[in-house]
């Protein structure tokens, strides 16, 4: 059938009539919602969806507002990256096994891509997966893995053929984070806390059934994950923007105002407004079916603005800017710009131009994919990975 606003709303009403959120257990309710196709309506039937257009998700969410949710902040990687990748490349069995507990939040996911030696140049990664019978044995080290300590599954990219050029020898796996040989260590950041982890993989055995996509096709699968990551970062809903936070500080502390800061703040307010309009226009384009690499531009602008604003806030606060709220080594579940103070925002924002693609890589992408400028001379495209200079 063809779904429209009215029919999705009816479906939601019918679901609510059968599952009273006030009486049904939270997890039961979420599982039932998934089974009713109201988890992500654009997914296929039987996999939490209705095969409806993506924009009708807003109707389902509206109709079910106030009912138990799956705490999307906690399971962002599963929702934003694992789910679309599994949907696109997984076997029927994988989709049935993973998507439901992913969406209900019963199983947390993490992403095992970056390595100490492979950051911007991800395709050069060195974690090996060697086939033994119908298992793969994985050895290597991953880094910058958020949620690794709470995750049940990881999206793992590993090298299965060192004898071919770097992009071609990779395979994508679902890593069982409970398997023997998986060790997770917190990675403390400049903010004092540890959002991320290092993950050491030592003789980790993964059955063939956890391979996602074909052997050697891992780079293509990973591209889908990364594309969704950047869309997720660019489109993240925020309670309040950094501009609003800094503007509130400005309004509440008239004694701190100077002409220097005022002029800089007005500039940033204009930039912030321009970024808001640019993002709105981008969303319109996406809705009209014209997606593009412009999302990279938004992430770039966002990082810059965040850094400028948070830097200005610390300076504006003067004596209060010399203080910090807490250096305790903690393990937060998500970034919280608003629940912490100016110094934290300043330091944490530095990561915005590194995580999920550095600003340098994003500029390369814009230059090459949007503007069509020629690539730099490359020495590593046709050389077997094992023969690359290190």
């Amino acid at each position: 059938m063809t779904w429209d606003e009215a029919s999705v709303a009816r479906r939601a009403a019918a679901f609510l009539a059968e599952h009273d959120p006030a009486t049904v257990d939270r997890l039961e309710f979420l599982r039932a919602r998934f089974d009713a196709g109201l988890a992500w309506v654009h997914f296929p039937e039987g996999l939490g969806g209705l095969g409806a257009p993506r924009e009708l998700q807003a109707v389902a969410d509206r109709e079910l507002r106030g009912t138990p949710d799956n705490q999307p902040g906690r399971i962002g990687i599963g929702l934003g990256m694992a789910a679309p990748t599994i949907l696109a490349f997984g076997t029927e069995e994988q989709k049935r096994r993973f998507l439901r507990p992913l969406w209900t939040g019963e199983e947390v996911w993490c992403q095992l891509f970056s390595e100490p030696g492979a950051g911007s140049d991800l395709a050069t990664l060195a974690t090996r997966a060697v086939r033994e019978g119908d298992e793969w044995v994985v050895d290597g080290q991953k880094v910058w893995t958020s949620s690794a300590h709470t995750a049940r599954w990881g999206l793992l990219l590993a090298r299965t053929d060192p004898g071919v050029p770097k992009h071609r020898g990779l395979t994508y796996f679902v890593c069982d984070m409970h398997a023997p040989g998986v060790e997770v260590r917190p990675l403390r950041q400049i903010t004092g806390e540890a959002e991320f982890n290092e993950v050491f993989l030592t003789g980790v055995r993964l059955p063939e059934a956890l391979r996602l996509g074909e052997a050697g096709d891992g780079w293509r699968v990973a591209q889908a994950t990364l594309m969704n990551e950047r869309v997720a970062i660019g489109g993240m809903p925020v309670r309040r923007t950094m501009m609003e936070v800094v503007a509130d500080t400005w309004r509440s502390r008239p004694e701190l105002r100077t002409h220097d800061l005022h002029q800089r703040l007005l500039r940033l307010w204009v930039e912030s407004e321009v970024m808001r309009l640019t993002a709105a226009r981008l969303r319109e384009q996406l809705a009209a079916g014209h997606p593009g690499p412009e999302g990279s531009g938004m992430k770039l602008a966002f990082a810059r603005l965040h850094q400028e604003l948070s830097g200005l806030e610390v300076e504006l606060l003067r004596e209060d800017g010399l203080a910090y709220d807490d250096w305790t080594f903690r393990r937060p579940e998500a970034v919280d710009f608003l629940g912490r103070e100016a110094g934290y925002r300043y330091l944490r924002a530095k990561g915005n131009s590194i995580e999920g693609g550095t600003s340098e890589i994003l500029r390369n992408i814009i230059a090459e994919r949007v503007l069509g400028l020629p690539a730099e001379p490359r020495a590593d495209k046709d050389v077997a990975w094992k023969d690359l200079p290190r």
Binding site: L266, W269, E271, V274, G297, A301, I366, A375
Partner: protein, 392 residues
């Protein structure tokens, strides 16, 4: 409200762009610059006639009832005028669109909206039909947040006397709209410059050697020139002028967008072809990153300019358009200059030559940065609406 371009807008763009490709190439504009200095007529009157009459761009802001194309119900609006300005900016076209079809037209629309707007209505009809071209005799550098007091006076015999500097579009105007001071209050007067209705020497347009070669400024002098009163106001303000400057500033952002887009596209094309060190210059990462940053600025300029145009279209007579206009000007004014400066720099020596058109864009962008309020004026105007008060 959408920030994208509608199909109708894209069709209008295509029509304007085709005409300009045909009649307004870089070399044609350079030629016009040379001849314009000698003849005192910087504009391409034939091209303007075709644009105004055949494509009908002059009436985009004028209501249908006066012979224009604008209407609240899906007719033309500031959105379409903005698209025309993008294309004219992209071609640095020497036509009096901004001066006549935007600034003068907006002043008349404000006068027409008030009581006793018959003269305004008649003039708007002539402008919309492309029968006449007008200019607003106000300095192009005037800020909408501090419109200048009228420098011209109206005598009891119905003639005006005085001088206004820094005016655009006067050389080709059939009608000059002049803000004048009255004993009490102000008025907007219309002075015909075409031979039939004028006294010899009563109106003088003296060209000023200008930074912007494709839209120079002039000094306009009136010596007992016969005038018609278009509208009056009781206080010291000139509401028609303020409204024209503010709305003109909002639409100027689209011209700046067009300038920036030409500069980026031309630079990208050049650095893809130009080789140094046996590589295209555009394969050097520092060049790539700068152009990526410029692209991002321009993406922002497009969103801001579209937003300003859409807000103007939604509020055809009044309403709070200041934020949208000020944000667009504060951003786009700087982006156009930046794009033109990068265009010159990344062309190397060739961008410094008179034969290459880059300088026409640099000069236009720099003049536009001053026009209708500087980026600093527009930022300053946002302190109130953004609730970011200045230090005391």
């Amino acid at each position: 409200m959408t920030l994208l371009y509608t199909e109708v807008e894209e069709e209008l763009r295509a029509a304007v762009r085709d005409l300009l490709a045909d009649r307004c190439s870089s070399s044609a504009v350079l030629g016009r610059v040379e001849s314009g200095v000698e003849s005192g007529m910087p504009y391409d009157a034939e091209l303007w006639k075709t644009l105004a009459r055949d494509i009908g761009v002059a009436g985009l802001l004028v209501p249908e009832e006066l012979g224009g194309a604008a209407s609240g119900a899906g007719g033309a609006s500031a959105r379409e005028a903005a698209v025309v300005l993008e294309e004219l900016g992209r071609a640095v076209a020497p036509v009096p669109y901004l001066s006549s079809a935007v600034l003068a037209t907006q002043a008349l629309l404000t006068a027409w909206g008030a009581a006793g707007g018959e003269v305004a209505g008649e003039l708007l009809g002539r402008l919309a039909a492309g029968e006449a071209t007008a200019a607003l005799a106000v300095p192009f550098a005037a800020s909408p947040y501090a419109p200048p007091a009228p420098a011209v006076s109206l005598s009891e015999d119905g003639t005006v006397t005085g001088t206004v500097g820094g005016v655009i579009g006067a050389e080709i105007a059939d009608v000059l709209l002049v803000p004048v001071r009255l004993t009490r209050g102000t008025a907007l007067c219309a002075v015909e410059t075409s031979p039939a209705g004028t006294v010899q020497g009563a109106v003088r347009v003296a060209p000023v050697t200008s930074l912007d070669l494709t839209r120079p400024i002039a000094t306009v002098s009136f010596a007992s020139a016969p005038a018609r009163v278009v509208a009056t106001a009781g206080g010291p303000e000139t509401p028609w002028v303020r409204e024209a400057l503010l709305r003109g500033a909002g639409l100027l952002a689209s011209e700046q967008l067009g300038i920036a887009e030409w500069c980026l596209a031309t630079t990208v094309a050049y650095v893809r072809e130009r080789r140094q060190f046996a590589r295209p210059v555009g394969s050097f990462q520092a060049v790539k990153h700068r152009l990526a940053d410029l692209w991002l600025e321009i993406a922002g300029a497009r969103a801001a300019a579209r937003n300003a145009a859409a807000r103007l279209a939604e509020a055809p007579v009044a309403g709070d358009i200041t934020v949208a206009v000020a944000v667009a000007q504060a951003h786009c004014g700087a982006v156009a200059v930046h794009a033109a400066e990068e265009c010159v720099q990344l062309h190397g020596g060739i961008g410094m030559t008179w034969e290459h058109p880059a300088h026409l864009y640099l000069k236009r962008a720099k003049a536009d940065q001053i026009a209708l309020g500087t980026p600093g004026d527009h930022r300053e105007a946002l302190a109130g609406p953004a609730d970011l008060p200045a230090p005391v």
